[in-house]
Amino acid sequence: MEELGLIGIIAFVFYTSLSYAAPLIFTGLGAVFSERSGVTNIGLEGIMQIGAFTGIITNLMLADTFKGMTPWVAIIIAMVIGSIFSLLLAVSSVTFRSDQIIAGTALNMLAAGATVFLVKKIFDGKGQTPYIQETITRFDIPVLEDIPVLGPLFFQNVYITSYLAVLAAILGWFVLFKTPFGLRIRSVGEHPTAADTMGIKVNRMRYIGVMISGALGGIGGAIFSQTITLDYSAATISGQGFMAIAAMIFGKWNPLGMMGAAIFFGFAQSLSVVGTSIPFVQDIPTVYLYILPYVLTILAIAGFIGKSVAPKALNQPYIKGQR
């Protein structure tokens, strides 16, 4: 490690940060869509578990068929399953007006139970899957990798998923703030009655918001399990979903702000993992790095670091004719 030099260390921390940030960005983007439509999705932790589980299982099953493409196929399947799973939240909290926090908690319990149940079912009582063989590989980005200094720093030996996550966040921002669809999503989260008056189907938009969050949470989980843990067990996803929600709040319900927060949280996580081999950083007790994202989020939502204001109609089921 001492041989790496300054550029080497920075590059090392940078790509570890980004690889931890990618799942957070996708899931956090999901959280933005769901909450902007007025539905708190505490269940994203569980949705990530479903995504991580689906990613690993499909990867193991399909590796012989798809070879190097397997992780991508697994991500797409995890996206679909995540979206279907999130329907449970939509049905119970949008249609049947359950408390969104309770429904989300139930979603988390269900995911934790169901994924481990299936792992034990499939692997004869073992609580852990085998390791996957086809992983998401790191590679150099053509042309950009040749830029002096910046090339080795940012564009060599990276997970492509990290850059896809950044693109997704930018796309998400565009959709949410520059398209009629995004305006509709936001309007049902801010003032559903007004939106309804303008002919927007409130509950339909909320279903869409929740299902987008399920799809993105599924992607986030599948990326996490296929880049970081490489297997699935009960301990695979422990708090990443909640951290993605934290990133959304820290980023003030804006996809770009969320992305910045997620990258920062990824940075904190990576320091806690690789920091032991970096001078200066190794002197910081890791507990500070572990709790940093959560403490910052509390400070942010308390208004000590700019004011984070949630969508107005968050947590309220929409009942036609009720004021």
């Binding site: 119970s92 308390a302 208004g303």
Partner: protein, 349 residues
């Protein structure tokens, strides 16, 4: 009994029945035998004195965790942080159990009190933020769960030098020899009395005191409470602090009763989240919480017998069933909707 009361009792019962039926269907679809499965579940709860003792042991922290969630909910607060408050309470209880030398009559109450205070302090943070700045307590409590997890892990390594502390002193232990003898040396401990006492006290506070009345009033309507001259921010803080105290007690049950030590954790214990399930099933009523805790505690412990032959069903089946029950209870409107559909078809209004 009036109709509203009847419905509020009927919904949890319906939800439990539906949850167990859906569970049976899932078992069948997965190629397991639900009759054998449920039989083994039953034996895992009532099979012999040992499992019965262990079942009571499992129910004990569930009562307190459920009570913590339910109490905050009465004031309109959602304390998702019971998990974190429980973790700090657990640590605090073990710390007192390890570091002080005093007779049992003092040691046990002192350790329990410190555990409760640790939980209360942890809950004070979201309480004061909500009361003074209007910050959403759900988010703050979720974040504090993970802060609690990592901070206690660091503290455990700090005081023990390894990932597990030593056992607490005999004088701080909740173990009762009589319980051990009648339950074939299960880990059932005296904490169950503390849990029941807490239920009675909370019931009394909510039903018979001015404080309880104010807390409930704030939960019903903050504006009306304010105009009636109540100090809304103060009530919010008090509610969170009492809720956190109860959660800390739940941690003490684990630290002084079940395990008698504390170890570092890679993820949350789950008891706090199951406390939410207990409170939801118990309709946030102290007595309801007891029933909720008995049901979920028994299911949870009994499920450990399900992976044994001949059933060989993963114990996570029960987590799935509990989640389904909660979905049904939470979606109470579903039953209303079904009822209306059903009545319309028959032409009855």
């Amino acid at each position: 009994m009036n109709k509203k009361r009847l419905i509020s009792l009927l919904i949890p019962v319906l939800a439990i029945v539906l949850g167990l039926i859906v569970g049976a269907i899932i078992m069948m679809v997965s190629g397991y035998d639900p009759v054998v499965g449920y039989t083994q579940l039953w034996e895992g709860i009532f099979g012999d004195p040992y499992v019965m003792g262990e079942t009571v042991r499992q129910i004990t922290p569930y009562i307190l965790a459920g009570l913590a969630v339910a109490f905050a909910f009465k004031t309109g607060l959602f304390n998702i942080g019971v998990e974190g408050q429980l973790i700090v309470g657990w640590f605090a209880a073990v710390w007192v159990g390890l570091s002080f030398d005093m007779p049992a009559v003092l040691h046990i109450p002192f350790a329990i009190l410190v555990a409760g205070l640790a939980g209360a302090l942890w809950a004070f943070i979201p309480g004061i933020l909500k009361a003074r700045l209007g910050v959403n307590e759900v988010v703050v409590t979720i974040m504090l769960n993970y802060v609690a997890l990592h901070v206690t892990n660091a503290l455990i390594r700090g005081i023990a030098g390894k990932d597990t502390t030593d056992r607490i002193a005999e004088t701080a232990s909740l173990r009762i020899p009589f319980f051990e003898e009648i339950t074939m040396y299960s880990r059932m401990h005296g904490g169950i009395f503390i849990a029941i006492l807490a239920v009675i006290i909370i019931y009394f506070i909510l039903q018979k005191t001015k404080l309880g009345y104010e807390l409930k009033a704030v939960g019903f309507n903050q504006d009306a409470s304010k105009y009636a001259g109540m100090n809304v921010p103060r009530n919010i803080v008090i509610s969170m602090v009492i809720s956190g105290f109860l959660a800390g007690l739940a941690g003490a049950m684990e630290g002084l009763g079940t395990f008698e030590y504390v170890a570092t954790k890679t993820s949350t214990t789950g008891i706090g989240f199951e406390g939410i399930a207990v409170a939801v099933l118990g309709a946030n009523h102290p007595i309801g919480v007891v029933f909720g805790a008995i049901l979920f505690g028994a299911l949870k412990y009994g499920s450990l017998n399900m992976p044994n032959p001949p059933a060989q069903i993963p114990s996570e089946m029960i987590t799935i069933i509990i989640a389904i029950i909660i979905f049904f209870v939470a979606s109470a409107y579903l039953f209303q909707w079904l009822y209306e559909k059903f009545s319309k078809k028959k032409g009855v209004k």
